[in-house]
């Protein structure tokens, strides 16, 4: 207390700050510590993003750039392959995100109850997250082979004629989405476990005293109180799903034809062909798409959050 008084006295002596202004004012001193991180953020994120907005308006050969205005964007939206990529991106993002949220929550409830081998099962569920995406892609491409793959063989034993997975134009994108969910649900589960474990026991005890069944205590206690974890999982998996590239590339390269192309693989193909300006325009479109979906969604999901 005496320190505080001394502080303001010292500060007000050096410069003629009005005392009311000093009260509750935070010193700018801590903000200087952000500077190194900001420099890195600027060089590796803000600067490339800004220059990509410029290059998306040019025809770029890496050696020279010729300004052509919005032609790249016009071309991007005119090409049927590219508009198909847009719809596929949205389907892929929402399907993977939805499945991860639902399955993640169910697995988390299972893995926080007293079930045998809980610690081992947690490791098993999380293990696919750690494996290389390309490795997973190549392995599942072999397993999903329509005539000789293991999955259709196993389904055949049970008497089901498996679909032609990655070769069927209607199924290719969904097959990749299912593999993506297998790979990513572990992360969602871990986040949910953290959320569920942080719910105080008193709520469950109170619910049990009031005679709630397991399902009722799940709906009325677990779900609402694990809401921050749910928001985190939705946002992270949706961003990841909308931007997904490596798994789709490893499994189908956007095929057969263009049926499993997403914006990210379309961008990559334009880049491969040397259309650097068009590819950058695609990146700008993806950036705007993700931002336009995520920001309102985040605001909506956290509207009732209070700062504790």
């Amino acid at each position: 207390m005496s320190l505080e008084l001394r502080d303001t006295a010292v500060r007000s002596r050096r410069i003629a700050w009005p005392a009311s202004w000093l009260r509750g004012r935070r010193s700018p001193y801590p903000y200087w510590f952000y500077l190194p991180a900001f420099v890195i953020f600027f060089i590796f994120f803000l600067l490339p993003t800004g220059s990509s907005f410029y290059y998306s308006l040019t025809r770029w050969t890496l050696f020279d750039a010729q300004f052509i205005g919005l032609d790249n964007f016009k071309q991007f939206f005119e090409e049927p392959a590219l508009t198909k990529g847009l719809t596929n991106t949205l389907i892929y993002g929402f399907v993977t995100s939805g499945l991860k949220v639902v399955l993640g929550m169910l697995l988390a409830v299972l893995l926080t109850s007293s079930v045998l081998g809980r610690a081992f099962m947690r490791s098993v569920v999380f293990f696919p997250v750690l494996v290389s995406t390309i490795g997973v892609g190549i392995t599942f491409t072999v397993l999903l082979e329509p005539d000789q793959g293991l999955i259709n063989d196993v389904l055949g034993v049970v008497g089901i004629q498996g679909p032609r997975w990655l070769v069927d134009p209607n199924f290719a994108l969904l097959s990749v989405a299912l593999v993506d969910v297998w790979k990513g649900v572990g992360l969602a589960t871990v986040i949910y476990i953290a959320g569920i474990v942080s719910i105080p026991r008193e709520y469950y005890d109170a619910a049990r005293v009031d005679g709630a069944s397991a399902m009722q205590s799940f709906i009325h206690v677990t779900l609402p109180l694990a809401w921050p974890a749910t928001v985190t999982v939705i946002i992270l998996s949706l961003i990841g799903g909308l931007r997904s590239f490596d798994l789709i590339w490893a499994m189908t390269r956007g095929g057969p034809g263009f049926t499993s192309d997403v914006i990210a693989s379309v961008i990559y193909k334009q880049y491969q062909a040397g259309f650097y300006g068009l590819s950058t325009a695609g990146n700008v479109v993806l950036f705007i798409l993700v931002t336009a979906i995520i920001l309102p969604l985040y605001a909506f999901l956290t509207r009732r959050e209070v700062q504790l």
């Binding site: 050969t61 050696f63 090409e79 057969p256 263009f258």
Partner: protein, 442 residues
């Protein structure tokens, strides 16, 4: 924490070790500029070559033979990808100046996309340039400079067929498309897949369109020039026939059941074993049979893709890839690389290459002869070449080739898109490439 004696010693030791390590890195490829002909100084060249046997086997044989001739020059082979991934890798490495000392890449339109006058060393003054066939020089030139030495033989694009199946069913080699379809109908009745497709390797789907070029040029000899200036399109006659062929064979149910996922080596094996009768392909893959089905190599024959007119029937010929030297190769390494390019484009080099991987068509260097034991499919190319009924493929006479053709042909061949729609889509795709190259009229 006070820096007492033991910590200080550890600190000094760490600094010394770090200084030594930094001094030891960098400077291992410091061969210096200046072209003093110190031919006995050991030189190591890095060479990027594709991963398939077609590239690796001759590359290894050539570098071993060259090393035996010039013991001070060692060549280290680096493996590169194929198809559009190779396009990507080569363009990026050239743009960032990180290419190997030499590399093998396609000739023709794909070379133009690399801006060779900016990125590659010109080889126009080399002695071997005069000994290379005239048809090859435009495919490796830009702005009147020559940039590449031919690597390997030419190859033909058309239909590989199983001769035993044809003999058994009493069929003749078709000279028009209608004859081809009639043959296919008979083959289907006999319970064999008439046409094999292998969309597990998407590049193979382009053959019906690309191998049809001879028939297009036969109807309009100036087609390539008009195409480069955007005066004719694939969605018009006569070029749309190629797309129509793709549509037809799928619609009539002539394809193998696993066309969507099978890869080309397996498909070729199926052809050799008689599980399929006809496979539109490039003869460049025929030597793979020596490893996969050595007993059935000569059961596979070749005929050119038939067109509308039997009298104008002929072969679409693909020119070989070439060895290029990027501008980043200088001094002693440049001299050594040029020596190697001369070796590759010589009769001696041809012989070494032919011994390692069977030629898939005639060679383009004067003095290089085809050995007598080439597979039947390759022998079948010779009559077309002898009679002069050949046209170089479109990619060698026009710089315009769209990057999405393989995806579009997979869609048309799988029945997902009509021929007319596919051709129109390709015309749009090609516009991007032409504009990127800065061509007039687009």
């Amino acid at each position: 924490m006070v820096l007492d004696g033991s910590w200080r010693r550890a600190g000094v030791l760490a600094v010394v070790v770090a200084a030594l390590a930094v001094g030891a890195c960098g400077g291992d490829d410091d061969d210096g500029g200046g072209g003093s002909a110190s031919s006995d100084k050991p030189v190591t060249l890095t060479w990027m070559v594709g991963q398939t046997d077609q590239f690796q086997k001759p590359a290894k044989a050539l570098s071993a033979a060259f090393h035996a001739k010039y013991p001070n020059i060692t060549i280290k082979i680096e493996t590169g990808p194929q198809g559009s991934e190779l396009d990507n890798l080569v363009k990026t490495r050239l743009a960032t100046g990180e290419m190997t000392d030499m590399f093998v890449y396609n000739s023709g339109s794909l070379l133009q996309a690399l801006h060779p006058e900016q990125t590659l060393q010109p080889l126009s003054d080399e002695a071997w340039v005069d000994k290379v066939d005239d048809s090859f020089i435009p495919a490796v030139s830009a702005k009147d400079q020559v940039f590449g030495a031919p690597f390997g033989s030419t190859f033909g694009g058309g239909i590989l067929y199983n001769r035993k199946v044809y003999d058994r069913l009493g069929l003749q080699v078709p000279k028009t498309w209608d004859e081809f379809m009639a043959n296919s109908a008979k083959i289907k009745k006999a319970g064999i897949d008439p046409v094999i497709q292998s969309y597990g390797d998407t590049w193979t789907s382009q053959l019906f369109v690309l191998a049809d070029y001879h028939n297009v040029a036969a109807q309009d000899p100036k087609w390539a020039d008009k195409y480069t200036h955007n005066q004719v399109k694939y969605s018009q006659e006569p070029a749309i026939e190629g797309f129509r062929h793709l549509e037809e064979v799928n619609k009539d149910g002539y394809l193998n059941k696993n066309f969507g996922s099978v890869k080309f080596e397996k498909a070729l094996s199926m052809l050799a074993q008689g599980k399929g009768a006809q496979y539109p392909q490039l003869t460049v893959i025929v030597p793979n049979l020596e490893t996969s089905d050595p007993d059935n190599v000569n059961d596979v024959g070749f005929f050119a893709q038939p067109g509308q007119d039997a009298s104008k029937d002929g072969l679409t010929l693909w020119l070989p890839p070439a060895l290029y030297i990027p501008k980043t190769t200088e001094g002693d390494k440049l001299d050594a690389a040029k020596k190697f390019a001369a070796f590759v484009a010589s009769p001696e080099g041809c012989q070494v290459s032919a011994g390692a991987f069977a030629p898939t068509g005639p060679y383009l260097v004067e003095g290089c002869k085809l050995p007598a034991d080439v597979p039947q499919a390759v022998k079948d190319l010779q009559p077309y070449v002898d009679a002069g009924k050949v046209t170089p493929a479109l990619e060698f006479v026009s710089p315009v080739k769209g990057p999405a053709l393989e995806q579009i042909t997979v869609e048309v061949g799988s029945g997902l898109r009509s021929a007319a729609s596919g051709a129109k889509l390709y015309d749009e795709d090609v516009k991007k490439q032409a504009q990127q190259l800065g061509l007039e009229g687009w």
